[in-house]
């Protein structure tokens, strides 16, 4: 049994241990990795930058704790940029475990903006969280007619008409755009219903697993921007000059990917050598 054959029979737990060691070591050692900004991420940044203070942005926070690692950095970076510019944000969460994510992000970001810019944000005047409603397709369609159909009151049970920033907001026509951060297939509803039916400008931040499937919508113009996984989040953090967890994670990604590539090479080499010897078929 040669070296490659032995490695191909290696207990997979050693692979996990090596990967864990690489992640821990590269997190402890501080070094920077170059991050190149892709046009599909820059277009979201440019869109938010071009908004005037007082304009409205709809942030759809449709993810569960399972995809928090990739999604939270995107949410934080975009919302901090928008709130610092004086853009008003309407938040919704159409994923069952999403309200907790959205509320945590909202409270953290309000604090963060106050610390970084000295700007005191007020709930109901600068930001509002409408909460969760089941059946995302129907909710997205109904918000195109009137936000009040699905959300007569916000997450804290305050009627929408009693919230100062919602008084003149009826539907998607009153918001400049929708930025969807999601780890669910609900993105299809947003594309077909919010953009397709109501022509609402839509950009998406997706988990790495989903990102490759949605590039055709970018090319067709149905979405104007796309952030894919941790890389997309890191690019956005770089654009807003606020290095966070995503930028830090990218240097770990580089090394873990190299290790995975080496493992794939060894596994395939072992397989090919075994096959040549007439072993595995």
């Amino acid at each position: 049994m040669n070296f490659f054959e032995r490695l191909s029979l290696l207990d997979r737990r050693w692979v996990y241990l090596i990967l864990a060691a690489v992640v821990v070591i590269t997190l402890l050692i501080k070094f920077a990795t170059p991050i190149r900004i892709n046009p599909e991420v820059r277009s979201i940044y440019d869109f938010v930058e071009a908004r005037k203070p007082g304009s409205y942005l709809h942030m759809a926070i449709d993810y569960d704790p399972g995809s928090l690692a990739e999604m939270h950095p995107m949410t934080y970076a975009i919302m901090e940029q928008a709130l610092a510019k004086g853009i008003k944000i309407i938040m919704t969460a159409l994923s069952p475990n999403g309200p907790g994510m959205a509320e945590q992000a909202m409270l953290d970001i309000m604090d963060s903006v106050r610390i970084h810019t000295g700007k005191q944000l007020t709930y109901g005047q600068d930001i509002v969280f409408l909460g969760y409603k089941p059946y995302p397709g129907i909710v997205i369609l109904s918000m195109g007619q009137n936000y009040r159909l699905s959300f007569p009151s916000d997450y804290y049970n305050t009627p929408l008409d009693s919230i100062p920033m919602m008084k003149n907001v009826i539907n998607y026509d009153n918001v400049d755009g929708i930025i969807l951060i999601t780890g669910t297939s609900g993105v299809d509803f947003w594309i077909s219903y919010a953009n397709g039916r109501y022509n609402a400008p839509l950009a998406v931040g997706l988990t790495g697993v989903m990102a490759a499937d949605y590039y055709p919508y970018l090319k067709s113009g149905q979405i104007f921007g796309l952030m894919g996984g941790m890389l997309g989040a890191a690019e956005y953090e770089k654009l807003v000059h606020r290095p966070g967890r995503a930028m830090e994670a990218m240097r770990v990604q580089v090394w873990t990917h190299m290790i995975i590539i080496i493992f794939i090479f060894i596994g395939n080499a072992g397989y090919l050598i075994s096959r040549r010897k007439g072993g595995v078929r």
Partner: protein
């Protein structure tokens, strides 16, 4: 940093370790964290559904301050969707299960009517129209070539799924280009998936690191919790190594 935040974070770190212990082998700690996750998710979802869905969109619309036995005064017609919803529960009866088909039929009719035209328009027609376009070299040479590759890739990919003709000769060659295109697509998805999975692990390690920092900066009490936790983890690892060695020694003796 408050004790409350610190203890909740400690609990989340403990559950992270319990979950990752499955990578070594199945064990009661993993089973506990798995069951806890399923239970908490179901409970959380039920409460969210009740207070975000049923109460504001049904109950609060029918009863606007009047006594519970009196349905007029509010939007009494909401009683009908409420009844349709209740009919769904007949799914659990073997004899009366047929009643649940009516609300399902109602829901399917609405959902299909809303979905089919929009899905066809946005996910089929629009995609087709924007795929089969003349190459746009004005946006740059790479963009133009990319447009050509997309058109060729889409046509060849469709040929691959055309099984009425044997994949031989010219047709076979085109289908082969199609399968190569699909493989490149799967490769891109796999690459992103690897990044996604590693991202989840990195975030957990970042959280553990921040928790350790929080413990050491939070005073003696919090520092003690971190040390006790670390000691417990080390003890568990040592116990597992001892168990493994004993098992190996027994096997060697046999």
């Amino acid at each position: 940093m408050s004790w409350e935040t610190f203890l909740w974070t400690t609990l989340s770190i403990a559950l992270t370790f319990c979950t990752f212990s499955f990578l070594y082998r199945d064990n009661p700690f993993y089973k506990f964290s798995e069951s806890l996750f399923v239970g908490v998710s179901a409970g959380y979802f039920t409460i969210i559904l009740w207070y975000s869905g049923l109460v504001p969109t049904l109950i609060d619309r029918i009863w606007v301050g009047q006594p519970w036995w009196q349905i007029w005064g509010g939007k009494w017609w909401y009683i009908f969707p409420g009844l349709l919803g209740m009919m769904m529960w007949f799914r659990f009866s073997k004899k009366k299960g047929w009643i649940s088909r009516y609300p399902i039929a109602f829901y399917l009719g609405i959902a299909t009517g809303a979905a089919i035209p929009l899905e066809m328009q946005n996910r089929v027609n629009r995609q087709l129209a924007d795929t089969l376009v003349a190459p746009n070299f004005s946006a740059g040479f790479v963009a133009g070539v990319s447009d050509i590759i997309i058109v060729i890739g889409v046509i060849c990919g469709l040929f691959y799924f055309f099984f009425s003709v044997p994949h031989k000769g010219l047709f076979g060659g085109v289908a082969k280009i199609g399968i190569y295109t699909l493989m490149i697509g799967f490769g891109a998805s796999f690459g992103y998936t690897v990044m996604g999975r590693i991202s989840l692990f990195i975030e957990r390690v970042q959280t553990i690191r921040d928790w350790v920092r929080m413990g050491f900066e939070g005073g003696n009490g919090m520092t003690a919790v971190v040390w006790i936790f670390a000691l417990l983890v080390v003890l568990l690892v040592l116990m597992e190594i001892m168990r493994h060695l004993r098992k190996k020694a027994t096997q060697d003796m046999a």
